[in-house]
Amino acid sequence: VTSEPRAFIALDTGAATVAAAMIGRVGSRWRLIGSITMPAGADVEAIIAVLGARAADADPALAVALDLRHGGAVDLPRLEVASHPPRKLAVVAASQRALEPLVATASRSGWLTAAASTDGTDPLAMSTLLLDSGVHGVLVGAGDPPAADERRALGELAALIAAAAGRRPELVVVLAGGMSDHLPAFGDVGRRPGEVVLGPSARRGIPGGPLADLLLELALPPADAHRSLGWGAMALADVLDRRVDVVEIGHDAGTRAAASPGVGGASATAELAVVPTAALAPADPDDAVVDRVGLWSTWGADRHRLRDRLRELRIAPWADATGDGATLRLAAARAALSRLAECTPDWDDRPPADLTVATGGAWAVAAAPTVALALVDVLRRPGAGQFAIDHARILAPLGSIPDADERRAMVADLVDDLLAPLGTVVTPAGMRTGRNAGSVVVHGVTGEVRLDLTPGGLALVDLPPGSSAVAEFTFRDTVKLGARGRHFAIEVTGGLGGLVVDMRDVPLRLPDRADLRGEMLESWQATLLNGRDA
């Protein structure tokens, strides 16, 4: 955005949906003028034309101020990102023990993975895997230094992979940890079209880190929406001076970005995880995927029917978004979110985020309070946090602005428009069941509201978007709410879901019986949608 335009289009082209937003210069700052989300496969020019026409019809004076003539929206400059289908990475190691951390790292780094180790797979099957036309890269790793059980097999493994890489010169090869010593087996790597890259070894139990960053860099093209989301989260954290967690459930992958503001002159930081297995509906849902969706479903379908519906969701992700389809979509989103959280276990050791932002097509058609409930159902941490949704899906396009200062300035201008607040959720942990847990008094501008707290349920205080209050909690027993204690005063902000006091277990425990589980899920949802306490 360099030629001083009065308006531009932010475009997030996903595999399932296309989100277009018009951003215009109003007064001295950039504002969100309007947005629209349409199924992928629709004509992008037609989508932008409709967006422009609606903006002009809604406020003709503003349209004139933005130089927006009728039908002229398609000519506006565009800030565009797109998500791309993940590619497949063959992950190989000399032992099963060495393979596990490599797979854990690769599967959260934007790659679909297929794993093999020399002690579990014969060389012919491994060669077949590497020569498969669907495989685009190879990650071969060993400990640094290699462990005793790896050393004997590393030479033969390097010879096998070098032979396959010679036959497929376009294959990207990553030699991690102790495998770096076998680089000479690959000959003159500068002459092959596919890169041969040296990387650090994978760390057991900590799937993030330098190797994950390297794999992300290789997996994501430059204008990729997932990559931009990390930059956008970082700018948002810097502007708000808050720890921000962004979660996206998309058609091809789930993305999680954890950003922290800069402290003491240091710049803001962000960590990114892109998990293809955390897609809304994986391409070939196995029993584990289907069962997990069934766990969150109130629909009561058997495994075969549920699998059929998930396949349909995969084939036409925007279709069937009403009635049962909306319920299934939310169940699939919760299941995907839990897979996403499982792939970032090291993030649980950090302080909880001050603000969690949901983005992506999976949330686009759900009622705002149910989005907040889905997030707190899965991403459960004791404490208090705000939740919001990137309703116009402009965080990723803004993140693609190459200059950090310009990106930050743009996010600062748009921060009030880009987030729709869902509310504040307070989640105390460690309460005893079966008795009154205490009370909360919410001191707002319009007066006080007092609620008794019953363990195991949700309590809702109506707190509209834009308002703030102080919630004073008095518990009968010591609970964990950030710190341990019995009395807490927390500043809370309102949202479409209000203030939610979540007194359910951390982590959430659901009944084994499907009918009881369904009733419980429905009652929680009714609490947030209708305002009844569960």
């Binding site: 496969g41 699998r307 519906r309 036409a316 279709a319």
Partner: protein
């Protein structure tokens, strides 16, 4: 009808051209064609090893070092014209690992075309001399046969007769695994269906794997699924093309999943611009005329979705989410 409005409906390509089909090869398989070759229908393009294994061999000291992927030929066996063959995979400490096997099957191209690429151990890509109808998935192996239109609804196993041997059957909305295995046993070459449920898909894949493992194999058989996993009739535009192809030889390939036909003189008129098909919801499978986009509307379940008015053949108008619609281009 506003042309701009109908462009908001997701588009699906009715006919794909050109068609580049990949025939996967495994290490040890032998390609019989080279890039640039012209192949006719039924021409053998590869020898596929049935139960490949990895053997180790020393190279003669005066032999030139082979490249991985090149062919290996063993010493002549008594009573045979040539020795065993295989493919060099990799060299470790001077001993070559070679993928080889005792029994081979011929892989034939189901359509005529030009070989674009041959990569030993990976696959052969052939550009078809024809066009194709894209599906969601194809199960089984590449096959060809005379296209025969079957029942509009669900085909049961009892509805099959031996007269369908050698054909590719279009069976309408849905089919079960029992019908598919019976069709294969009766000599039917393939089945084209709108929807295949996950359970039937799993059962058929299991049956196909057992059949492929048998010593005496049946001819290749494929199931092409055009729409998805639930029951819905074939789209009218697709049905019209299939009706025009009835009685002619067509092929099914698995990568990409596609029905390929070589009828250069067949003129396929583009579907009407405003013709849309409802692919989900209570009216799934019905088709109508797109009248106009009406903006966001609230639908059951509380979802606010962009919608359009569709005029159904009985003259009634319905507001349908745009995401539930599709149009063919």
């Amino acid at each position: 009808v506003s042309t701009a409005d109908v462009r908001l409906v997701p588009a699906r390509r009715l006919i794909s051209a050109p068609v580049d089909a990949l025939f996967a090869l495994a290490p040890g398989d032998r390609a019989l064609v080279a890039a640039g070759d012209s192949v006719v229908v039924g021409a053998p393009i590869a020898e596929m090893i049935r139960d490949p294994r990895l053997d180790e061999f020393d190279l003669p000291t005066d032999a030139e070092a082979p490249l991985p992927g090149s062919r290996w030929t063993g010493n002549n066996r008594r009573g045979t014209d040539g020795g065993p063959t295989g493919e060099y995979i990799f060299d470790w400490h001077g001993r070559w690992r070679v993928a080889t096997g005792d029994i081979t099957d011929a892989l034939e191209t189901p359509f005529a075309g030009i070989v674009r690429e041959v990569r030993p151990g990976t696959g052969i890509t052939i550009r078809a001399a024809g066009r194709g109808i894209r599906g969601i998935v194809a199960l089984g192996g590449p096959t060809r046969g005379r296209l025969q239109l079957g029942a509009d609804g669900e085909l049961r196993s009892g509805g099959l007769d031996v007269g369908s041997a050698g054909t590719i059957l279009v069976v309408g909305s849905r089919v079960d695994a029992e019908t598919l295995t019976r069709a294969r046993a009766m000599g039917v070459c393939g089945v084209v269906v709108a929807g295949l449920a996950s359970k039937e898909r799993r059962d058929f894949i299991g049956s196909e794997a057992r059949q492929r493992a048998a010593l005496h194999r049946l001819p290749p058989f494929a199931v092409l699924v055009l729409d998805g996993a639930t029951r819905r009739p074939l789209a009218g535009a697709v049905r019209a093309v299939l009706a025009a192809l009835a009685g002619f030889e067509v092929a099914i390939v698995t990568d990409p999943p596609m029905l390929v036909f070589d009828r250069p003189n067949l003129v396929i008129p583009p579907p009407p611009v405003d013709l849309v098909r409802i692919r989900a919801g209570a009216m799934s499978g019905r088709e109508g005329q797109f009248i106009t986009a009406i903006g966001p509307r609230r639908f059951p379940g509380g979802a606010h979705l962009e919608a359009g008015i569709v005029r159904l053949p009985d003259g009634t108008d319905a507001a349908i989410p745009l995401g539930d619609l599709e149009r063919f281009v």
